[in-house]
């Protein structure tokens, strides 16, 4: 399978099975796409076709898929999302966690439950050495004491078992002061700072409990954290909605504030929600990604260098084949634990009773549910098997598929289309930067 595409009148072909990317002349593009060849003379066409044959003979175009028998994913656990707090000090208009409560009670995880969650992770991790814990909510810093004690416990117990822990915290920044910042900087392998971009965009949806915008409340906290973070991982991570389809301005605004690790994601909401993105918005969104790609290349040549999460694409040395089939591992190698100890396939299923896998306090696990997630891969999704992007999105988000189509094996099409556009942008950027052919 191949994918030939045109980006700003430059032509590329991506070979799906070998992972090869070629920059091509328009004549090759037209031949591969079955286009009109009347503008070319016969000698040119013959020469171009010969080059296509040569690429195929080298295994770099239309390459064969590897002989690989679909397998269930491993059920030993690699990563856990720990919901230390089901409460929040913001009231964001698009929050899937419903003010942090996940449609349940406002609740804090006790240290006893957090300890049992760490024990569950360690005891169910088989021979994996590196384990990961994401502190999540709600707003996890509202339960800062339990967060700190959990880190200390996991490191001690993990050390006894030969495990290395990597921690992440996602925070809205309201409680990010010198004490919490210095702690997160010292203990977290990654910190995700939630900010939607321009003040008016952020404040239209990310509001405090009394209805005021949060930008002025958090921005200096984020700047302080950035100032002490150095080269360690962090992300300023935003959400764009139907109200800011010009989101490239928000990405560049965050870069102008001094942040150099940036991500912005399309909101996923029911069709009728006023902030929801619809398929009819896709042409505007595609143009915005293209605009961002061009500015991205320019800025990376200057002192405003930054990394945009979705444009990071290492074609030469990315994940191995097997990893590309697994995706995030929700329900198998990745689980989420609610404050009461209930275990879910991932944070996006928390609060949905039919997706409870078990509880860290003991009792049987719902193995049928875990196996259903473990079986799910691009091989169980017919639309994915015929898609050129399958080894980069790994079948997409199971939660989005369930919430959009009622079936984890029916991908959420709007997200698929955006993923493919971002990949084309990423391949264009990769080609330009590798060739040194920048603006």
């Amino acid at each position: 399978m191949i994918h030939a595409f045109n980006f700003k009148n430059e032509y590329f072909v991506y070979d799906v099975e070998s992972g090869s990317l070629h920059e091509i002349d328009k004549i090759i593009y037209d031949i591969l796409r079955g286009g009109d060849l009347s503008a070319y003379d016969e000698a040119e066409i013959a020469e171009a076709k010969q080059e296509i044959v040569q690429l195929k003979s080298q295994g770099l175009l239309d390459a064969e898929a590897p002989e690989y028998k679909p397998q269930e994913k491993r059920l030993d656990v690699k990563a856990m999302c720990l919901h230390v707090c089901h409460d929040c000090n913001l009231r964001c208009g698009y929050c899937f966690a419903k003010e942090g409560t996940y449609s349940g009670a406002r609740e804090m995880m006790s240290f006893e439950t957090a300890k049992k969650a760490m024990d569950f992770l360690i005891d169910n991790s088989a021979d994996r050495k590196i384990l990961e814990v994401d502190f999540f909510g709600g707003e996890p810093l509202m339960n800062f004491d339990v967060l700190k004690r959990t880190v200390e416990y996991a490191k001690k117990r993990g050390g006894e078992k030969g495990k290395i822990f990597k921690f992440t915290t996602t925070t809205n920044g309201v409680l990010l002061n010198k004490e919490t910042s210095d702690y997160l900087n010292a203990e977290m392998d990654n910190v995700v700072l939630s900010l939607d971009g321009r003040k008016e965009v952020n404040d239209a949806v990310r509001k405090t409990a009394n209805g005021k915008g949060s930008f002025d409340l958090i921005i200096d906290n984020f700047k302080y954290f950035r100032s002490i973070r150095g080269d360690k991982s962090y992300f300023v991570r935003g959400t764009f909605t139907a109200k800011n389809l010009d989101f490239s301005k928000d990405v560049l605004f965050m870069n102008d504030l001094g942040f150099d690790q940036i991500s912005i994601e399309p909101v996923v909401l029911p069709e009728e929600h006023p902030l929801a993105i619809h398929e009819s918005d896709l042409p505007i969104i595609f143009a915005e990604y293209e605009k961002l790609a061009e500015e991205y290349i320019k800025r990376r040549q200057t002192d405003k260098w930054f990394s945009f999460f979705h444009f990071v694409l290492h074609l030469d040395d990315g994940p191995c084949y097997k990893k590309r089939l697994v995706g995030c591992g929700a329900g198998s190698e990745y689980l989420a634990v609610a404050p009461n100890g209930d275990i879910y396939p991932c944070h996006q299923f928390v609060g949905e009773n039919k997706y409870v896998i078990g509880n860290v306090n003991g009792g049987a696990l719902n193995d049928d549910l875990r196996h259903a997630f473990a079986r799910s891969s691009i091989f169980t999704k017919p639309e994915c098997m015929n898609c050129w992007a399958k080894y980069h999105c790994s079948g997409g988000c199971n939660a989005n598929a369930v919430h959009a189509n009622g079936d984890m094996n029916k991908p959420y099409r709007t997200a698929c289309e955006m993923m493919k556009k971002r990949l084309e942008c990423s391949m264009y950027i990769f080609a330009k930067e590798k060739a040194g052919d920048v603006f």
Binding site: S18, G19, I28, A63, C81, R128, M427, A435
Partner: protein, 32 residues
């Protein structure tokens, strides 16, 4: 080649059998 410039050729399909160490995991392989 006159009409083609190869940008990347990781030969992903050739290493399928050897992959999957299980140590990697809100797009570089540390094990190379």
């Amino acid at each position: 080649m006159k009409h083609v410039k190869t940008i990347a050729k990781p030969e992903l399909n050739k290493i399928a059998k050897n992959s999957g160490c299980g140590e990697c995991r809100k797009n570089v392989c540390e094990q190379k």
